[in-house]
């Protein structure tokens, strides 16, 4: 079905206002888009890892969620989903439930790339019929912008401070989407916010309606942690895609597919300069660092092109 935002906008909003995320946060944009992809006649059980999202959307006695939601801890969202999904299977088998439920898990990069990785990997390997959506803002924002394994190289965070002896994070970003693809699950995709969110919607819908495990990695910028002006979020996302820092691709039943190829690859500094967390790279004497980032982005992009048969 062709993407029609007007029609989709008519669907009931499943992520309600009144949640307490920061003004301009990318995460609720992702939540809203993913939940819009859920067919209105279907229900969902949503699981959340401890995160900004959790402590802002489910604060006793308030919930911002129209669907059932459970938060248990930081590191185990996928395991909790496994249990809820098994309960659903059990109830269905026993004829105790007529409705269709979908199982969606939301975690930040901390709860996904790092502390929640074991639980995620386990649930994926077991073939749990669920979608794991990572809203990747590249650091532990909930606790105050500490580095994660998703934080890109040379980014400044509160645990990768920049100073005379430090250029920020030393290590490169973990390529989690590829790690998930290596789980040989039916659907893996990477996306972010672009235009009218067509790419995100289509991937979310495909992920939700794929039988078995699916993983969706959504770059969801954080104005506070990345230090850009909140209104510029879409500009930042576009630059990430145009510079190939965050390519759009999916892996369907093992088949790699590139979803977007920039006509002209944007130099990586055009992406970096939008964000205060990379400001130090533009100081004299640090030119080689940007070149290094560019080389890394180029190498990964070439690898991706190969995987996608481009």
């Amino acid at each position: 079905m062709a993407y029609n935002l007007k029609e989709l906008a008519g669907r009931p909003e499943r992520f309600a206002p009144g949640q307490r995320m920061c003004a301009g946060c990318g995460s609720p944009i992702a939540m809203r888009a993913v939940l819009r992809a859920l067919h209105p006649e279907d229900k969902a059980v949503i699981t959340m890892a401890t995160s900004c999202l959790e402590v802002s959307s489910l604060i006793y006695p308030y919930s911002a969620w129209e669907d059932s939601i459970i938060h248990a801890a930081f590191e185990n969202a996928s395991a909790v989903t496994s249990g809820a999904q098994a309960a659903y299977t059990a109830m269905k088998k026993k004829g105790k439930l007529d409705e269709t439920y979908k199982f969606i898990t939301f975690g930040g990069d901390g709860g996904t790339y790092d502390i929640g990785f074991q639980s995620l990997s386990g649930a994926m390997e077991r073939g749990t019929d669920m979608v794991y959506v990572c809203y990747d803002n590249e650091a532990y924002m909930n606790t105050g912008i500490q580095r994660s394994s998703s934080t890109p190289k040379y980014a400044e965070t509160t645990t990768t401070a920049v100073g005379s002896e430090s250029n920020g994070k030393v290590q490169t970003k973990k390529d989690l989407t590829r790690v998930l693809a290596a789980h040989n699950i039916p659907y893996v995709a990477q996306t972010t916010f672009l235009g009218n969110l067509k790419d995100l919607h289509e991937k979310a819908e495909r992920a939700i309606y794929t039988k078995g495990p699916a993983f969706l990695n959504v770059m969801a910028p954080c104005p506070r942690g990345w230090r850009y002006d909140a209104p510029d979020i879409m500009k930042v996302c576009k630059a990430a895609v145009e510079s190939c820092v965050w390519p759009l691709f999916e892996v369907v039943e093992g088949q790699w597919k590139l979803n977007y190829r920039p006509k002209e690859k944007l130099p990586v500094e055009e992406y970096l300069k939008l964000q205060g967390r990379f400001r130090h790279l533009f100081k004299p004497g640090r030119e080689s660092l940007i070149a290094e980032i560019q080389a890394d982005v180029d190498r990964r992009w070439e690898e991706l092109l190969k995987l996608c048969g481009e």
Binding site: L58, P61, I69, I70, A79, G83, A87, Q118, S119
Partner: protein, 392 residues
Amino acid sequence: MSRRDRLSGNEAVANAIRQIDPDVIAAFPITPSTEIPQYVSSFLAEGKLTTEFITVESEHSAISACVGAEAAGVRAMTATSSAGFAYMHEMLYVAASDRLPIVMAVVNRALTGPININCDHSDSMGSRDSGWMQLYSEDAQEAYDNMLMAHRIAEDPEVLLPIMVCQDGFITSHAVQNLVLEDDETAKQFVGEYHPKHYLLNPREPAGFGPYGISAYYMELKRQQTEAMNHAAAVIERVSREYGDLTGRYYGLIECYRMEDAEYAAVCIGSSAGTGKAAIETLRSRGVRAGLVKIRAFRPFPAQAIAQALQNVKAVAVMDKADSFSACGGPLGAEVRAALYQYGARVSAVNFVYGLGGRDVRVDDFYAIYRELQEVSDGKDYPMFQYIGVRE
């Protein structure tokens, strides 16, 4: 019709699980509880269970999956020991605060380190303040019986707390003994159906579990848990009475063995109680008025019942199969002494730490304990706590 059989403690628990047929089981292997998920797997392979069995990648995920399943509206179970138990620690608190009546079979084993696979109670004692109910079993029969009662206790609307059914690793889990199994239909009927009130998969009303509890609400939510634990004592007694009427096997919060006229008593938990009983029979034949109080429910802690049972003895040995490293003895010692003090029972209470890491407790050890109690009641000084069977 009930059936006489001879099974190990793990087999007994597995048979209870087979009869209960919970909707979801999530478990990870760890000695000595590993056999339980193995039996579950073989029951499933033979079509004797309808359970959804989640072979998780860790104990943390096992208990997390149980939280998810139970919150979703079904019965969930797991089994574990020792390090696996400790790995669950954080989620035990979550399960309790979410008020999810999960049932966990615990096969007690010493907590590393050094690594040791044998029995003591350091694993479950480490989570005594997690908000779970704890029932301890003397032998395979009790482990089986406690499992059949566990759901009824945990799911009672006045309680709604998770429960662990503990037995001693290897000592009972791997020892074959005689026991009586209820027939499947009787067991199923006793356990009954589960009808949660608020749950994730309720199509009429969505639910949100595990919210952020700000300071304005957190303390009231904790207070609620304590209230539930207060109710639990009466519910355990009621369910146990009903179970006794059905099977002829009656249990309380504690078991008093030859306490009517006892002058010297031991208080202990688990399989050692059986060894103590054998010692008492011999001592009685020699004219020593020995008795024993076995703790079945450690959470809720039956302080008043214990104080009452001990109020007329001359001296009591409180036996801990776990050290607290408080430099003041073990957890049972601390709590029994507090109970005696609260209820005005002026009894000399000698705290013994024993059986750590599978150190065997013999009938002879009990003779020595009762001898020590006789000396204490004759005026001998005794330290805050002491060890049994340790090389100094």
